[in-house]
């Protein structure tokens, strides 16, 4: 029976696309406010730290960051191809490895908090 590895790539891609669509705009809005000098109270060190120190907070942050990274890697791979970069295997390897490194790094940073 022919088996495909596509579901492995596709599931985090679809989940990540949904997470990006629902969560990333409001997160960007928060950091954009901070960039304009109106730092929201929730972005203070104490508030962020107390959120990231809880198990639920760690899981939410890791889920959002890791799924967004994986989905972005997959989308960037397609974007590279569409812009004429035909070295698809290379692009896929570089981007997926970057997403894995970013996810592992996020987990390490979260466990340090």
């Amino acid at each position: 029976m022919a088996k495909s590895h596509k579901p492995v790539v596709w599931f985090p891609f679809a989940a990540g696309g949904t997470v990006i669509a629902f969560c990333i705009p409001v997160i960007v809005l928060l950091t954009f406010l901070a960039a304009l000098g109106h730092v929201p109270a929730g972005l203070s060190y104490d508030k962020m730290h107390s959120f990231a120190v809880s198990v639920l907070g760690k899981l939410i942050i890791f889920g959002v960051v890791a799924l967004s990274l994986w989905s972005s890697a997959h989308r960037l791979r397609c974007t590279c191809y569409d812009f004429g970069l035909r070295a698809d295997t290379l692009a896929a390897a570089v981007l997926y490895v970057a997403a894995i490194i970013g996810s592992v790094a996020s987990a390490v940073f979260l466990l340090r908090i």
Binding site: G17, T18, I20, A21, F22, C23, I24, P25, V26, I27, V28, L29, L30, T31, F32, L33, A34, A35, L36, G37, V39, P40, A41, G42, L43, Y45, K47, M48, H49, A52, I61, V64, V65, S68, L69, S72, A73, R75, L76, C78, T79, D82, F83, G84, R86, G102, A105, S106, F109, L110, R112, I113
Partner: protein, 130 residues
């Protein structure tokens, strides 16, 4: 008579200028660059948060540089555009059938927009914006 198969010429780097719908597709593809870069920024932010209060405050201060303000603005536009097109596609990607009939597509997309709005307002409220 030799048989000449039709070979369509497709310029690999400029094909999307041929049709407005290709351009719309590519404009959505480009949002992945900004969203991907923003994800890297999130990982950097996590590292700064784990490094202590001084590092976190330095991160918040670095966000205020002009280049960062421009980037965040572009990332915000890209993220909203990605979200809107994603929710518009949900009615095609997961049609919902109840009994004999399909639920109208704009109800499926509309429900996603409502959930998106509610979630965003809740996050903004929890973050102390209002």
């Amino acid at each position: 008579m030799s048989r000449r198969p039709l070979v369509r010429e497709c310029p690999p780097t400029s094909w999307y200028f041929r049709q407005p719908r290709y351009l719309r597709y590519m404009s959505r593809e480009i949002t992945s660059i900004f969203v991907g870069a923003y994800c890297v920024l999130l990982v950097v932010g996590l590292q700064r948060l784990s490094a202590g209060p001084a590092a976190w405050d330095g991160f918040l201060l670095a966000l205020r540089s002009p280049a960062s303000v421009v980037f965040q603005f572009l990332a915000l536009v890209a993220a909203v555009y990605h979200a809107a097109t994603w929710f518009n596609a949900t009615q095609k990607a997961m049609p919902l059938q109840i009994g004999e009939d399909f639920v109208p597509g704009n109800i499926i997309s509309g429900a996603h927009y409502v959930a998106w709005g509610v979630l965003s307002v809740v996050v903004l409220f929890l973050a102390g914006v209002f």
